[in-house]
């Protein structure tokens, strides 16, 4: 159970980080348009 939780938490963190990357890029694109 712990193993599944640890691996799932790691995957979740990196998915959030990828989302954060995309968010930063979109902010840049939005600022450029503005």
């Amino acid at each position: 159970m712990w193993d599944v939780g640890c691996i799932a938490a790691s995957v979740l963190f990196f998915m959030v980080a990828i989302g954060y990357t995309i968010g930063c890029e979109r902010l840049g694109a939005k600022e450029k348009q503005g």
């Binding site: 712990w2 193993d3 939780g5 640890c6 691996i7 938490a9 790691s10 995957v11 963190f13 990196f14 980080a17 990828i18 954060y20 990357t21 995309i22 930063c24 890029e25 902010l27 840049g28 600022e31 450029k32």
Partner: protein
């Protein structure tokens, strides 16, 4: 303080200074794909790697693709590390028959080595098999360092390129950082360490018969006290030299043994001690030269180097001064330098290294994001112990980790030119690129995530007696410093421990894992966003309002910005920890 101590400190720094230029120029050539002496050896290996892995080395990446490649690479290697730790009891190269690492500790260690932190909540010689140490921990020592260098190079390309959508190729940069920079350095370095007595073998641990048997009394979990007589001692062995080399050169810091660089098998002689400190600083120092060369502004590289050097000397001066003073609580004991003793505060220090080399090592390892230790920071005087803490709190930008130090200081450079622009009422420029609102927002994000992680996790730990406080072995301001240091070290990806904190608990393993991941990846992303933004910009010709970034004035401004941001953020926490402890020590109280 002694003249001998200062001579050693200046000699160490002179060595770094002399080697920074040739290594910096070499790294610039490697990452600009110019010819180097090592091409004949490494180019065929590099081509083979790309052929096997299907990488197109001519394909460039936008900053988002570069970031996602780095994230996916880190995730996969982190999970593999976790699984090997969990399965080490059924895998080979485990002559001590060590059991599987507990899941929370395995996660903490996997995150720790993936993020170049090397925080160790365990004693390696009784927890990790030789296979785990070599296949996962030493592997990460190479690749987390190589990733750091690759990221710094991507940022430098962003600064130097014009109207470009790309920053390079993550896989190519990481491969080149490993093959051309870290691997040859480590091969030579490991052999030098072996020549000095660092062990390198796969033997089971030696058993030594004690000259004098020891009687040990221990209280078990059931409250029963048992007394036993110990007549033998296990002396841990292992492939240490190979791991030690990359531990220092990659500014990783995770010890093969629990005592880290205070262990005579990891750091046996004064020469290895000098080599270890030199190898922590040499790549980060050389990267400032790489910055100057790749941006075609060598003087800018040296101006950044000068800012780092100024902060280094302030740190080492305070640490050495604090440790060389007699402890005021030990009035009746002679603590002065004499032929029979080093003098000053020798608690927690190796007699072989003395006060000067312990204070210097502590400053170097926390200026950079290394985290190796040759003395126990917990035993430093309050102000001496504050120096490593402050060094990490400043963002480890004083030479810093391999790559991480350079991209960290460049975030402060962006802020410095922004502030300079505000002063004269002009749009800030940095090496011909206009710094716009998006760049400053990303730089602020970079600067704010760091204290947010440290202070929130520390506050939560301090407010929970059963989780955070129960692991403390000291009370009062010293206890606060221990918790603050742990989260600062984790978020800063330093990995050194202040000590005094039993960190192998569910709470600390999991919360420090989160701090390490946030401190690495959530700060890299805005940094790469700035790199991508700068790469797209046109060059603007210098005007009378342009703030030159190669002058002593720029160096002073950069130092000022680093110190002001650091002190505004952390002074309240420091005043309740080491500063209060220092004042109470002079009032006769210890903790």
């Amino acid at each position: 303080m002694t003249a001998n101590g200062w001579f050693q400190i200046f000699f160490f720094f002179a060595l770094v200074l002399v080697c920074a230029k040739p290594l910096g120029v070499y790294m610039a050539r490697v990452f600009e794909r110019e010819r180097t002496w090592a091409d004949r050896i490494f180019r065929p290996i590099e081509r083979l790697i790309y052929r096997v892995t299907g990488i197109d080395e001519s394909r460039e990446m936008a900053w988002t693709e570069y970031a996602i490649a780095m994230l996916v690479f880190s995730l996969v290697t982190m999970i593999v590390t976790y699984l090997i730790e969990r399965l080490q009891h059924v895998l080979p190269l485990n002559p001590q028959h060590l059991v599987a690492v507990a899941p929370d500790l395995a996660l903490n260690t996997a995150a720790s080595f993936t993020t170049n932190t090397n925080w160790q909540a365990y004693a390696p010689e009784t927890t990790m098999s030789y296979l785990t140490q070599m296949l996962t921990l030493a592997y990460h020592n190479f690749f987390s360092g190589a990733v750091g260098i690759a990221l710094a190079i991507a940022l430098v390309r962003g600064i130097s390129r014009r109207e470009s959508k790309t920053l390079g190729n993550f896989w190519v940069d990481t491969t080149r950082a490993s093959l051309w920079v870290l691997l040859p350095g480590c091969l030579i370095y490991a052999l030098l360490l072996v020549s000095q007595g660092v062990v390198q073998n796969f033997r089971p641990y030696d058993q030594a018969k004690l000259v004098q048997s020891q009687t040990v009394t221990a209280t078990g979990t059931d409250g029963k006290t048992t007394t036993q007589t110990v007549t033998t001692q296990s002396i841990a062995q292992g492939p240490t030299a190979s791991q030690e080399a990359i531990k220092m050169l990659g500014t990783n810091g995770g010890g093969f043994f629990n005592a880290n660089s205070a262990h005579p098998f990891e750091n046996p002689t004064p020469l290895t001690n000098l080599m270890q400190m030199f190898s922590i600083f040499v790549i980060p120092a050389a990267l400032t030269v790489t910055l100057g060369r790749m941006t075609k502004s060598p003087k800018h590289g040296w101006a950044v180097f000068a800012a780092m050097a100024a902060l280094f000397f302030v740190g080492v001066l305070v640490a050495y001064y604090a440790e060389a003073q007699p402890n005021p609580l030990l009035h009746s004991v002679s603590q002065h330098v004499s032929p029979l003793q080093a003098g000053g505060n020798m608690e927690g220090k190796e007699v072989r290294f003395g006060v000067a080399n312990s204070a210097l090592f502590a400053t170097v390892t926390t200026d950079a994001s290394c985290g190796a230790v040759n003395s126990m920071h917990d035993s430093f005087m309050p102000l001496g112990g504050m120096v490593p803490l402050v060094n990490i709190m400043l963002g480890e930008v004083v030479f810093g980790g391999v790559g991480a130090g350079l991209y960290g200081v460049l975030m402060f450079v962006v802020l410095s030119v922004f502030i300079a622009g505000l002063m004269v009422g002009r749009t800030p420029e940095y090496l011909g690129k206009k710094i716009e609102s998006y760049d400053v927002k990303m730089a602020m994000l970079y600067v704010l995530i760091f204290p947010l992680s440290i202070l929130i996790f520390s506050a939560v730990a301090l407010m929970m007696p059963n989780l955070g406080l129960s692991a403390l072995t000291n009370i009062g301001p010293h206890g606060l410093s221990e918790i603050l240091y742990a989260y600062t070290s984790a978020t800063g990806n330093n990995g050194s421990a202040f000590g005094g904190l039993s960190a192998n608990t569910h709470w600390y393993n999991l919360s420090l894992t989160a701090a390490m991941l946030i401190g690495r990846f959530m700060m890299i992303i805005p940094m790469l966003a700035i790199a991508g933004s700068l790469a797209k910009k046109k060059l603007v010709p210098p005007s009378p309002g342009t703030f030159p970034v190669h002058t002593p004035l720029f160096t002073v401004l950069l130092v000022g910005v680093i110190l002001i941001v650091g002190s505004l953020t952390f002074f309240p926490a420091l005043s309740l920890g080491p500063i209060l402890e220092h004042l109470l020590m002079h009032a006769g109280k210890s903790f």
